[in-house]
């Protein structure tokens, strides 16, 4: 999947070295390569409206601190961790500034934040739900951020336990434990939505 990013002249680490050596233009390859994954990662937390800004901020932070990157680890994991941190920081800032009732708990990654606060069994909300994708989006929005991050990293980005542990910054054992909790919460939401059998 990411072989071209690990080996060869266009490997991430090679590009990073070139950028640090003064070839600023090479960072464009990094942007093109990871913009979709970074965008969807931050979108999962901040929504469509702010996702572009947060993703840009993540790339800019990565560029400004490129000398802090440790080539011993995959560049993608380092970049995703930056994106995750920027997304959480954005959530905290947005909750603090707006005081929106639906977002007031967004600063806590243990809590969930959703724009649609209607009950899951609200007929209107159910009527607006056109397909499974939208149902899943609504379900994920109701999962606390720290669990949502794990689910996204695994099921959207296809990462495995050790990589997820590196991005989230916790041991692999803790990752498994949190996944257990995350699936329980997600299943409960999906059951309420009628997506899965109770």
């Amino acid at each position: 999947m990411m072989d071209d990013t690990r080996n060869g002249p266009d490997a991430d680490e090679v590009i990073v070295r070139e950028v640090l050596g003064g070839k600023k233009d090479r960072f464009r390859v990094i942007i093109d390569r990871y913009q979709d994954r970074v965008y969807n990662l931050v979108r999962r937390f901040v929504g469509h409206d702010d996702a572009v800004d947060v993703a840009q901020d993540a790339f800019l932070r990565a560029y400004l601190h490129l000398d802090h990157y440790d080539p011993g680890y995959p560049f993608s994991n380092w970049l995703f961790k930056i994106a995750q941190n920027r997304a959480f920081t954005h959530l905290k800032r947005r909750a603090g500034h707006t005081g929106h009732p639906s977002l007031e708990f967004a600063a806590d990654p243990d809590r969930c934040e959703v724009a649609d606060v209607r009950p899951l069994n609200d007929p209107a909300a159910v009527a607006e739900t056109k397909n499974t994708g939208e149902v899943l989006e609504r379900a994920l929005a109701r999962v606390p951020a720290k669990y949502r991050l794990l689910i996204h990293l695994r099921h959207s980005m296809g990462l495995q336990g050790p990589e997820i542990a590196q991005i989230v910054g916790i041991p692999v054992g803790t990752v498994k434990y949190r996944f257990h909790e995350a699936y329980k919460v997600l299943r409960q939401v999906l059951v309420e939505l009628g997506v899965v059998a109770p």
Binding site: L20, G21, G22, K24, F27, R28, I31, D32, Q35, D36, Y39, N40, R43, H48, V52, A55, Q56, F59, L60, Y63, L64, H65, L66, D67, T132, G133, L136, E137, A139, L140, I151, H152, H155, S156, G158, Q160, G161, K176, Y177, F179, H180, A182, Y183, K184, L186, R187, L190, V195, V196, A197, P198
Partner: protein, 339 residues
Amino acid sequence: MKCEEYGEALMAALATFDEHSPDLEAHEKVCPGCRERGRSMRVALDSISKLEAPVPARLASGTWTAVSAAQPTWAVPTPPFWERLLSGLASRLPAPALAGAACAILIVLVAVSWIHRSLREPSTQIARVIEQSPGLTIREERGSTKFLLPGRGTTRLEHGAGVTLAAAGPLRLELTSESIARLDEGTVAFEVDRGRRQGSTYQVVTPHLKARVTGTRFTVQVFFSQTQVELATGTLDVSSGGSDASMTAGQTVRTDGTTLSFVTRSSAAVATTTNSTASPVTRPNRPEISESEAPSAARPSGSVPIPGQRVRGSDRGEPVAPPAPDANVHEPYRPRDDR
């Protein structure tokens, strides 16, 4: 496994990245309800990977704009243009081609330098040799011209516009700009044109004395320990050792760098009053300032006579004797204010 335990076991299996647990599969085979629960959960999780949203086009462009404008602390300063050019050439051209290009550039530079030097005005802007003595060496340096004459001999020069010099060796003379002559050794007769005198001053500097020209003709002799100035016509301001004096026509001053003394010219030797150390000066080869009373302005520029030559217009037919600097009788120097 009981159905009550199935949900927890499914979550645990998913969390351990081991979705194919034998216990689960065995229970699902015998329990259609739990099989449906597991299938629907797995389908839902698989569907999450299809929730990717298309990336707005402005993300890449906006990100690149922000990155381009950013100045990270680790940024390497942009090397100068020529360095980037050379490094680019070095990475693209083979070594022989690069060496050939370097040689070509070197040859072009040398040719341009040679053409530039050949087209440049010679040092005659500062000084021009009117009559050259054998053995006279001319060294052109930045902003000055040096005239070196190790042995006897005479030469005549034009310094700038309106100053004519008749010099006798051994000579060490340096002409800088168009108004300063530094005489370290030798005897030089100066004739400063009146027209020039109105515009700017002319200075003669020796190790012992500085003469500021307000007159027209004078002779400067530099010896090892002293300098003697004889003024033929006009006036001349001299300074030495912190003392200043204005000379009038016919006066002679002598200084060793500390004491400025007027020398009284007389046919007989007179007593030295201030500088007993000043010994009689022998001048084996001294250029001539025309002793004719004709004003310098009446004589064309560059006509300062030199030793061994007949003075133009002179009816004596012999080299004109210069003022006698070897008189060893001095008048005490009187400051200008006392006069």
